[in-house]
Symmetry: C6
Subunit: 201 residues, 6 copies
Amino acid sequence: RYGMIEEEDQIGTATGLAYTAAGGDTLSIEVSIVPGKGRLSLTGKLGDVMKESAQAALSYIRSRAEQLEIDPAFHQKHDIHIHVPEGATPKDGPSAGITMATALISSLTNRPVKKEVGMTGEITLRGRVLPIGGLKEKTLSAHRAGLRTIIIPKDNEQDLDEIPESVKASLAFIAVSHLDQVLEHALVGEKHESNQIRHND
Amino acid sequence: RYGMIEEEDQIGTATGLAYTAAGGDTLSIEVSIVPGKGRLSLTGKLGDVMKESAQAALSYIRSRAEQLEIDPAFHQKHDIHIHVPEGATPKDGPSAGITMATALISSLTNRPVKKEVGMTGEITLRGRVLPIGGLKEKTLSAHRAGLRTIIIPKDNEQDLDEIPESVKASLAFIAVSHLDQVLEHALVGEKHESNQIRHND
Amino acid sequence: RYGMIEEEDQIGTATGLAYTAAGGDTLSIEVSIVPGKGRLSLTGKLGDVMKESAQAALSYIRSRAEQLEIDPAFHQKHDIHIHVPEGATPKDGPSAGITMATALISSLTNRPVKKEVGMTGEITLRGRVLPIGGLKEKTLSAHRAGLRTIIIPKDNEQDLDEIPESVKASLAFIAVSHLDQVLEHALVGEKHESNQIRHND
Amino acid sequence: RYGMIEEEDQIGTATGLAYTAAGGDTLSIEVSIVPGKGRLSLTGKLGDVMKESAQAALSYIRSRAEQLEIDPAFHQKHDIHIHVPEGATPKDGPSAGITMATALISSLTNRPVKKEVGMTGEITLRGRVLPIGGLKEKTLSAHRAGLRTIIIPKDNEQDLDEIPESVKASLAFIAVSHLDQVLEHALVGEKHESNQIRHND
Amino acid sequence: RYGMIEEEDQIGTATGLAYTAAGGDTLSIEVSIVPGKGRLSLTGKLGDVMKESAQAALSYIRSRAEQLEIDPAFHQKHDIHIHVPEGATPKDGPSAGITMATALISSLTNRPVKKEVGMTGEITLRGRVLPIGGLKEKTLSAHRAGLRTIIIPKDNEQDLDEIPESVKASLAFIAVSHLDQVLEHALVGEKHESNQIRHND
Amino acid sequence: RYGMIEEEDQIGTATGLAYTAAGGDTLSIEVSIVPGKGRLSLTGKLGDVMKESAQAALSYIRSRAEQLEIDPAFHQKHDIHIHVPEGATPKDGPSAGITMATALISSLTNRPVKKEVGMTGEITLRGRVLPIGGLKEKTLSAHRAGLRTIIIPKDNEQDLDEIPESVKASLAFIAVSHLDQVLEHALVGEKHESNQIRHND
Ligand SMILES: [Ca+2]
Ligand SMILES: [Ca+2]
Ligand SMILES: [Ca+2]
Ligand SMILES: [Ca+2]
Ligand SMILES: [Ca+2]
Ligand SMILES: [Ca+2]
Ligand SMILES: [Ca+2]
Ligand SMILES: [Ca+2]
Ligand SMILES: [Ca+2]
Ligand SMILES: [Ca+2]
Ligand SMILES: [Ca+2]
Ligand SMILES: [Ca+2]
């Protein structure tokens, strides 16, 4: 069913975690990049903050094109569409920043995103990962959706205390402070460094 | 009369199903693609969600141009107009997504849409078909309009229980999870696979 | 006086019929097409639905340029202005669709519109003519303005019963389902087919 | 003082008559046309109807460029600015249509506007002059400003009855139905035809 | 301190006088003109009327480029930024018109504005200077800021009666009806004509 | 943690000081400049005044490109993105003007900003630094964040009296009236002049 973990690793699609009045939810961030004239489309009933978050993710990527092995002129020669399905549901906030960055880089480098990974965190123009709200609710929804690994901001590490042991037992948490670390753990074909945290305390 | 089944299969026109406070209704989605400069027009008093749905349908098609045997540069060399008649009636929601995609592809490939087919379902940038609301009311309006086959999202299959037997007896339902399946059953000149469901239980 | 039948057949001007809280009224739809860059101007305090109706009329014409013997690239090489005088009076609704299409085609083909013809009907991207409201009030205003022939949508034929015999005696009604039929009866220099209806019942 | 008759005939400036809650007033319509890229600026706290009126005036001129001995491509090679001073006073309505057309044509043809002429009337894309409201108040303000000749729409002729004899004795009224007649009487260097009306009844 | 008279004559900066609910104030109008593509930026929390006033000032200058010894194509080859500091304070009204024109011409001709001159007056497309409100409050604020000469519209001359003798004793007033007169008195390097008025009555 | 002093001097990032209903806060201003077409993006839920402040900073830099040893055409050949993290927090006011200018110049000249410097002050098109509000709250937040040097507007010097001695003992204050002074003290590799003020009174 839609909203559950994908059947295989996908290129250009990453799983975020949302926190609303109705609780937590998973968000599928879809990116499509096709030959075009440099237009950016942002759809899925996104609020202004979430749209600005997408712009920040894109600017970060453009400023790091060389290191990411992306054509620095990709922006001018393509149209980029970022869509968040369930188009009737309003979505907002900066916490999908790293998810949008990951889906964009996946699409630009043709590297799939691991299907069992979910993530949440604000991104800055320098690639820093800032803390977010609602970690508990987000984690519960990730668990329900069948995800196995959750990438969270380093500054949210202390919030893990509030999460039930039963949930923590089946999820791996990775705390990051920079997008580089997100990419290492979320994209297929990149060696993992060992800042993975298993919470069995 | 307008609102009843067409007299012959049409290119660039597909039949969707709407659900409003006043009950269900059929929607004719019309597409016109003419030489131009890449402008997209969306008319018929469409709400923001429905307009974003059209953008998602178009981006999906652009990302799959090669497989669909469409010129990948069609977008830049043409103006595209999607219109939903009864221009005074407000329309919104994501459930016309697959209908807009079907009408666009029909117009771009010159393959007619079967006149007796109606459809409802949200589309994503990957071509996935997501569930919709109001299936019962939509089905009743399809029946009144004289349609014979209804394409619905796989995730709505369980909602078929609520539909009266008398209606189900004269309608075939096809449950789909991807736009490829929609096109197989809705466009003329494509072999049908056998995931058609007749509800006589 | 303005609002009464024109003194001679005009190119680029057609007479529509409006229905407002204050009753029926005739509307003069004026079109001006001059060398330019493809800009469309819509003025006369037009509401969104009426503006979308103009776009639908224009897209229909572009998709049928060859059959109408119009340069398919006219849109790019000209600026098009559609104006509805009495600029302080708000106007809206889709029922001027066929009138705008007729005025546009008259201007593009240099064929005058017959001065004694009025018309009302929504237009679709396929050239279909959809039913409208307020036929009685519209007919009375057409009569007051001195018109002799009224083109109406086929689906409004039953509404002719409500119109006073005294009015019907001096007006010819033509019921149509497609814009081709409108053009045959409204433009000068085209043979009439015999679907004219005289209401003397 | 500003608001009184000009000291000499001006190119690109014409005098209109406004009617507001506070009574009648004269309006100076200023036009500036300079080499540019085809941009139209409309300033002076103008309402939407007045802005559309300016567009109608401009489209009329473009459609008649040849007869007016104006370069048909003037629009693309210049920027046009129409300004109505006393920039803090809101202005609206279609009745400055013929004044804006006159100021534009004066500027484009380098023919001055006669300084003692005021005018009021809506313009259509065909150059027709439509009736306006507030003729009495407008006439009184024209008289106060020192104007000698007032151009009015033919369909407002009957409203001259309401104007005090003392005012009519010092003003000449010219009733017109087309912009051609406005230009004959308002621009310097064009022979007058004798449809001037002196009201001494 | 900011808000006091400048230490030396500046190019591209002129001092206007504002009148708000809180009394009079001086306004520094800053202009920056750099190589660009013809974009006009207006910042400093300016209301619509003040923005239109800037456009009028600019159009006047473009129409008089030759007489002002300015490259007639300056507009297309530069970006122009007009900023009014104290960016958090809302500003509106047409009375900064001549100040903006003066700052623009100073910047375009590299002639400094005299640091001890303040000014207030609406500008028209013809360079006429129209009367403004709040002259008394504006004059008091000019006095407080250390200005020595105030340029006012000719039509405001009678308002000088309301100004205290102590203030008038230390300020020179110059009444003008056209921008040419403003430039003569405000820009460095231009001979003064003798319509300066000293109020010692 | 985010919000604390950076670990090393950064290029394109400067620290501002904000004052809100909830007290003072530090703001990280991030600038990204990449090859592009001259587009300026301003994100981080910035209000209109703060956006205009960014435009003023950019125009100042463009007008001084030569002195700053920046390619005068940088604006046309790059896209510039200014982002202020914590994207969900609304930010407004002109006091980040000098911080945005500093971050822009750092990015354009590849000179890092000293990590221990914070700053606050409105900027004008001439590079003047205007006074701001909330100096006490801003200073306390700078102290909490671990900053060592605070650049303030000259016109705010008297407000230093309100700041607790314990805070002043660990912070150096530099009072400036022009952006040149800001750059001297904030950018690495520029000799300091001695207008630094230590408040131990
Ligand atoms: Ca969901
Ligand atoms: Ca690493
Ligand atoms: Ca219907
Ligand atoms: Ca298949
Ligand atoms: Ca009427
Ligand atoms: Ca026929
Ligand atoms: Ca007046
Ligand atoms: Ca004549
Ligand atoms: Ca001030
Ligand atoms: Ca002089
Ligand atoms: Ca903070
Ligand atoms: Ca220095």
